[in-house]
């Protein structure tokens, strides 16, 4: 099983929606982790977290926006950026076809939504990735949108918040994808050197070229509970080592224990925590620099 398959498995497990049924009282789902039966409105009121086991189901970008940003405050930017097929990449499935499928399934044009909004009235530049769009992979469009987001935030002197969920760089755009790592890292560094705040939130899963570029370069790194967070896929590591991995390896808890992230924050507390961080760090007195 490839890393992407493995991730997709996790993803499907994570979407209670996969197991959605209608009964007279309403629509219900079954938590893929604990088996608990949950009514849809209960899921919605509980931040898409299983009330039984605390599993954090995957979110679509606009669900995330509605949970994290002030109501109606978000305005997308660069919505009209669309992927091309510069390598005319033809694997088992042509890239064009993968793109069309992803666009159809998610209703998005690419694996990230970027724009400006408010968190507890603080204006922020905001980007949220969509793992459902070709495993949240970063190709030219994701790289460009992330870079423009940081540039726009610099122009406006606002903090940036990103929510990552990604399998890594997008293979089908080859080296153009790898170069987005350099491009986004450079943009983050400029924003950093301007003294501005960047908060990066890792959701399940965050890995590969996204974790090894912009997403790791924030002032504050937050992970959702029980998220997969790691550079290499566990299958790759198992093949390298020819042994099974320790329990809890590459989870947000392990990342915290090994000093890689600042904190794990449950989805229900994410908005408050983020707002508090921005209140402390987001608008410094320039005089002290």
């Amino acid at each position: 099983m490839s890393f992407t398959d493995w991730l997709k498995g996790r993803e499907q497990k994570a979407r209670g929606a996969a197991d959605k049924r209608a009964v007279p009282d309403g629509i219900w789902s079954k938590c893929a982790v604990c088996g608990h039966i949950i009514f849809q409105k209960e899921i919605l009121s509980n931040y898409h977290v299983c009330p039984e086991c605390g599993h954090h189901f995957a979110l679509a970008p606009y669900e995330r926006i509605s949970m994290l940003l002030d109501d109606g405050s978000f305005t997308a930017i660069d919505e009209d950026l669309r992927p091309q097929d510069p390598l005319e990449f033809d694997g088992r499935k042509p890239y064009r076809q993968s793109l069309n499928n992803a666009i159809e399934t998610t209703g998005q044009r690419e694996a990230i939504v970027t724009g400006f909004g408010r968190i507890d009235s603080h204006r922020v530049a905001f980007g949220v990735m969509d793992f459902a769009f070709i495993a949240g992979s970063m190709g030219s469009v994701v790289g460009e949108k992330v870079t423009r987001l940081f540039e726009a935030a610099m122009a406006e002197q606002t903090p940036v918040i990103t929510v990552a969920g990604s399998g890594g760089a997008r293979m089908q755009e080859g080296m153009l994808s790898l170069m987005q790592m350099a491009k986004t890292a450079a943009a983050v560094e400029r924003h950093n050197q301007a003294g501005l705040l960047y908060i990066s939130i890792f959701t399940n899963p965050t890995s590969g070229g996204v974790l090894a570029s912009f997403a790791s370069l924030a002032d504050i790194l937050i992970a959702e509970p029980k998220a997969f967070v790691g550079f290499a896929g566990p299958r790759v590591i198992e093949q390298t080592l020819n042994e099974t991995l320790p329990k809890g390896f590459q989870t947000s808890a392990s990342m915290l224990e090994h000093g890689m992230i600042d904190m794990i924050v449950a989805r229900s507390a994410l908005k408050n925590t983020t707002a508090q961080l921005i209140a402390s760090l987001g608008y410094k007195e320039r005089s002290v620099v």
Binding site: M171, Q172, E173, G174, E189, N192, A212, S213, V236, I237
Partner: protein, 332 residues
């Protein structure tokens, strides 16, 4: 003779080479008819080599880039640089032998040089972890980048890695973060940076040495977002499709020049760099020296801006109303 390592597609060349060597060793090698055959075979050899090596597929180049006799970073260090003083350690955990760096002079100019070293021989390869660095290797690299920045020394980097190491300790000590920090540091370094990919350019683990002002590749080196095998396993669901993946990924030097991602190709002798390491090293040296000469007069702020712009413009996408599409292909 001890059998040399060769790749499948090289078999006819190697067989002919072996026959030639045998003939030359023959006691009667000076007799006219044998001498004549030797001459004939040598002519044939030239044609054969050209046929075999002139139109290599992407996958064949990947194989050459991994040739066990291919000159590693240390060969370039020895041949191009002088007065090398190795600087060790990340100052917090270890000294990763997969990345070697230090102060050196090239053509009389003091530089910081950092490269991935695959090692030679079984012992050497193990010691170097086959050129696959752990986080401490990237942290050492980052420390040397900053040292170069502090002292205004140009930075020369050499890429040759299948990728960053994928292992438990590497993950636990923050492989992704260590690579990201290298990207960040290079992107804002106030000194000229010149990079040569001398073999394998495996993904983020290679890019951590490649946020640069000039990027050269040896003719048979590759640079890829993922190894062909990895790509085949994921997209074709079978590793045996690696040759197809290599083709699809556009990972060869000439394809990357076309994509606007690298600046120049340094030629190799027919068959690969290991067939004439000295000449290849000399040419690599010439390219580095020339690039340093061009970049050194440029003020730091301008260098940094140009480096930012260099990566800033990479990417292919369309923008605007679908009916009125304006594609960004500035780099192609």
């Amino acid at each position: 003779m001890s059998r040399r390592f060769y790749m499948d597609f090289e078999r006819p060349v190697v067989e002919l080479e072996e026959r030639l060597e045998e003939l030359k060793k023959h006691p009667a090698a000076h007799q006219p008819d044998i001498a004549k055959e030797i001459k004939f075979l040598e002519a044939q050899m030239g044609r054969l080599k050209k046929r075999v090596y002139s139109n290599l597929t992407a996958w064949q180049k990947v194989q050459i880039s991994r040739h066990p006799e291919r000159p590693p970073f240390s060969a370039y260090l020895d041949n191009i640089f002088h007065d090398f003083i190795e600087l060790h350690g990340d100052r917090s955990f270890g000294d990763d032998q997969a990345i070697v760096g230090g102060l050196a002079k090239i053509d009389g100019r003091a530089v910081m040089v950092v490269g991935q070293e695959k090692g030679r021989g079984t012992h050497g390869r193990l010691k170097r972890n086959f050129g696959m660095a752990h986080p401490e290797g990237y942290r050492k690299a980052g420390r040397l980048y900053k040292l170069a920045g502090k002292f205004g020394l140009p930075l020369v980097t050499f890429i040759d890695t299948p990728g960053a190491y994928a292992g438990i300790g590497a993950e636990e000590r923050g492989q992704a973060g260590a690579i990201a920090e290298c990207l960040r540091t290079m992107s804002s370094l106030p000194v000229p940076i010149v990079t040569v990919n001398i073999g394998e350019g495996g993904s983020g683990g290679a890019l951590a040495l490649g946020v640069t002002d000039r990027f050269f590749m040896l003719e048979n080196a590759y640079y890829s977002v993922i190894t062909p095998e990895g790509c085949a396993a994921i997209l074709w669901q079978e590793k045996e499709k690696a040759p197809e993946a290599a083709e699809a990924l556009r990972l060869t030097a000439d394809q990357l020049v076309q994509l606007g991602i690298i600046d120049g190709i340094i030629p190799e002798p027919l068959g690969g760099a290991h067939r004439d390491p000295q000449t290849v090293a000399r040419q690599v040296g010439d390219s580095v020296i020339k690039a340093l000469g061009e970049l050194s007069p440029v003020p730091a702020e301008q260098l940094k801006q140009a480096r930012y712009d260099r990566f800033r413009r990479i990417g292919v996408f369309s923008e605007g109303k679908e009916s009125d599409e304006r594609a960004n292909r500035s780099n192609v």
